[in-house]
């Protein structure tokens, strides 16, 4: 019985993440539109886009290899599996011991790896420019993320996300400087990894500013739909991750009743909306950076992550 409940919970989480992800993207777009006094498309527009793309035929470049056709599914799977390991409204996930935070970072790294390879597969200049810049951003964002993970893991005494969340929800934590640094670093990484302003502009097709869009320029139809969905899930993953580690309250603990789960779900929805609105506000308020300013931005995250980790050693209580 417990096993089945666990499996249902795990499956439900996965479905929730995938089902709500395009909605989050739509919400961010809607809020951004409203902030710039436009009416904006419906929040549901990303769902419609993905469904429309799914039904369209694929136009494949002449010299695209099998890797180009396999990659969208690999990227989607790696991202979704990573997202499935992040507690959203309940901890104690059935498979949470499969992989820890470091493995989640590495799974996202796999997705980026295959996306960059796919960008280079057709042999166009845009694919290359996107892949090259994405790997540069990734090369700085990933260590920053890992250092953040170190900080959190040293505080919680575990890299296992469910255990981290349980520890964070307990009263033992308190307010810590290193956690604050980790939060800022993680937000910067999340912005960079999700190709948001000021690092990249998801709405642009202007050659010189594209990173993510340049890599997926040759994709169409169902392949593009998978990649868009994966990108949406990735955004959801980061919001859920920040939510569950830094505002862990009212996540349903293992063995809690249905009511606790419902409360957890409502809290999760609130966190997503909060995250989405905050992201839209931030994106509206700030201008896009030049590509070679991005390393400074990410370097700040790297330093904050390192400082957060080192602070842990100066005194255990900060």
């Amino acid at each position: 019985m417990e096993l089945i409940a666990g499996l249902i919970l795990q499956g439900l989480q996965m479905l929730v993440v995938a089902a709500l992800a395009p909605g989050l993207v739509g919400l961010v777009r809607k809020v951004k539109a409203r902030l710039t006094r436009r009416r904006g498309a419906s929040v549901l527009q990303p769902y419609r886009d993905i469904l429309r793309l799914m039904r369209k035929e694929v136009v494949l470049a002449e010299n695209a290899s099998w890797l180009f056709r396999v990659s969208p599914y690999m990227i989607f799977a790696a991202t979704w599996v990573a997202a499935a390991l992040v507690p959203t409204f309940a901890t104690g996930l059935r498979f949470s011991w499969t992989a820890d935070l470091i493995a989640i970072v590495a799974l996202l790294g796999s997705a980026r790896f295959f996306l960059a390879l796919a960008g280079m597969d057709v042999g166009t200049s845009f694919g290359g420019i996107g892949a090259s810049r994405e790997m540069m951003i990734g090369a700085l964002a990933e260590p920053a993320m890992l250092l953040t993970v170190f900080t959190v893991a040293l505080i919680a005494g575990s890299t296992q996300l469910s255990n981290v969340v349980e520890y964070m929800a307990s009263p033992a934590v308190g307010i810590r400087v290193s956690l604050g640094m980790a939060l800022v670093a993680l937000v910067i990484v999340a912005i960079a990894e999700n190709a948001r302003i000021p690092v990249d502009n998801p709405a642009t097709h202007l050659e010189l500013t594209m990173v993510h869009e340049a890599m997926v320029l040759e994709y169409s139809g169902r392949h593009l739909a998978m990649i868009e969905l994966a990108a949406a899930i990735k955004l959801m993953l980061y919001v859920a991750l920040i939510g569950c580690v830094f505002i862990p309250w009212s996540i349903a603990q293992p063995g809690a009743g249905l009511a606790a789960h419902l409360v957890g779900f409502a809290a999760f929805l609130a966190k997503i909306v909060l995250g989405g609105v905050a992201l839209a506000l931030f994106e509206t308020a700030i201008a896009k950076m030049r590509v070679f300013r991005v390393p400074d931005f990410l370097g700040a995250a790297l330093m904050l992550g390192l400082l957060g980790t080192l602070l842990m050693f100066v005194t255990r209580s900060l």
Partner: protein, 670 residues
Amino acid sequence: MAAIDLAAAAVAGLLGLSGVAVALGRYRGISGLVYALSAALCAVLALLGGLVLATRAEAAVLSLPIGLPWIGANLRLDALSALFLALLGTGGAAAGVYGIGYGRHEAEPQRVLPFFPGFLAAMALVVLADDAFTFLMSWEVMSLLSWALVLAHHRAAAAREAGFLYLVMAGFGTMMLLLAFGVLAGPQGDYGFDAIRGAARAPAATGVVLALALIGAGSKAGLVPLHVWLPVAHPAAPSHVSALMSGVMTKVAIYGFVRVAFDLLGPLEWWASPAVILVGGSTAVMGILFAVVDGDAKRVLAYSTIENVGVIFAALGLALAFRANGLGALAALALTAAFAHAVNHMLFKSLLFMAAGAVLSATGRRDLDALGGLIHLMPVTAFLALVGVTAISALPPLNGFVSEWLVFQAVLQSPELRQPALQFLVPAAGGLLALAAALAAACFVRFYGVAFLGRARSPEAAAAVEVDRWSLGAMAALAALCVLAGIVPGALLDLMAPAAEATLGARMPPQLGNAWLTLVPVAEVRSSYSGILVMAFVAITASAAAWLVHRLASRRIRRGPAWDCGFPNPDPVTQYGGGSFAQPIRRVLGTALMAAREEVEMPPPGDMAPARHRVTTRDLAWSYLYLPVAAAVDYAATRANALQFLTIRRYLGLVFASLILLLVGLAIWN
């Protein structure tokens, strides 16, 4: 017949094979035979090593009446030797099988054949040696034979330069080890490892030995700043030898360091570890940074070897730190991580060097900017190389990730360390390792994307054909091992447990008994990882998604010209190449660390000459360490040259004066 006798017999067989190759090398058919027999003997060595580890056999010794008359040659097969013997055997067997096919392209097989089995035998003897003479002798033979292999294509000036540099650095490294063993043996001069283990040493002597061993073994393994020979020498050799040098010989060097630092020296104080950790971490970053910007496929791989050696040394330093603090289980975790990374690196680096060799024999080109589009013409090689680059980029669920993950787990245990210096250093080193891992992914996206994807950049690349089956078989076996070590890492780690136990007296908890082959390095609440489940989840999700989409949505497909924002250019030069791909990282990190400079040469208005853009990068170790040393040597030599043209009276006077000086010195000393 005990395992040690069999191992010695296999080594003797390899040496005999060298003789056969010398005698019969001019016959065409002999090449395949030599490689096949080398592979078989290496497989025997690998099996023996694995067997000794699996059965937890007692250490066995063997004394042979060869070598110095009053010492002989002493061999010993304990768990640590067995681990590296298994590593060597696996790498050697794969290289041998690959050589059966690859060796056919060799223009002058007699420059490779006699040295190949001898090189393997010498490496095996280093691992088996039980006294300093045998160790150093085998070490030097290993260096010289690999030097001969580097010079296999001696008509290329670059290879000759590489050979010279390698000879100098190898001689320097051996000298350092010679001095290290000299201090180890002490005034009694007993060179057996048993006697060395038992001897008492002052802390200063211990420090000197550790520094000498780090320099001596580190120069062979490629630690920064002693790495400069590695990226020129490894690629100059034929590709299966490159695979051996990068995959196996660097591991033999690491074995040398582990033997001295963990076994012969006995327990060390904590101050032994920071230097090792720091050197390891910075080696990892510098190595991969050079790999990211280099334009030669094989040199990229050689630089990446430097990175992986750095990771291994950082883990070894962690193990030293934990051991000095009496944390046996954590030291075992770090040491096992180092061993696992050594094995994994042997697997994927051999695989990648072989893939580069396949590309080289199919196209004749090694420069990335001449390749491209090989995934269409060499589909099997391309697939196997993809496994290799995924593994080396430390991506789950392959094996590279497992060992990096273990290293990170060891880093995360640093609060257990009591010294503030280490508590600060270890997380910083963790940051360096994370940066290196992320850069490795960028490096290998570039390597694979430029060489195998896109469109062919040269006529040779456009006319490539798939390589022979022996080469493919060797690569496929290595790729399968990469996957296997990634999804069943517990088996590998459990197999290594006796080696850690013999060295530290502690081991990681057994892994194979865990549900779903999960790795639990310390405790389940701290961290766990199950490669097989991650693999299954990703595979199931990807295929289910593909099936559902094809079933419910659309499966139509149409081929058309590339879109490229509406302006596709048919010229393959417009693709991103190696240099352009590396540009962002070169600008961000290379300006300071590699003195990367970009120059734009603009002709004046009206001049029809093309504008030029030139990029230069420098190895700072070369500018600030090697060139000054070379200049000093040159200066001293020029000065000393005056002594060459003296009259006999002056020479006699010099002899007399130095005799007096020495006697006076002796008198004062006493």
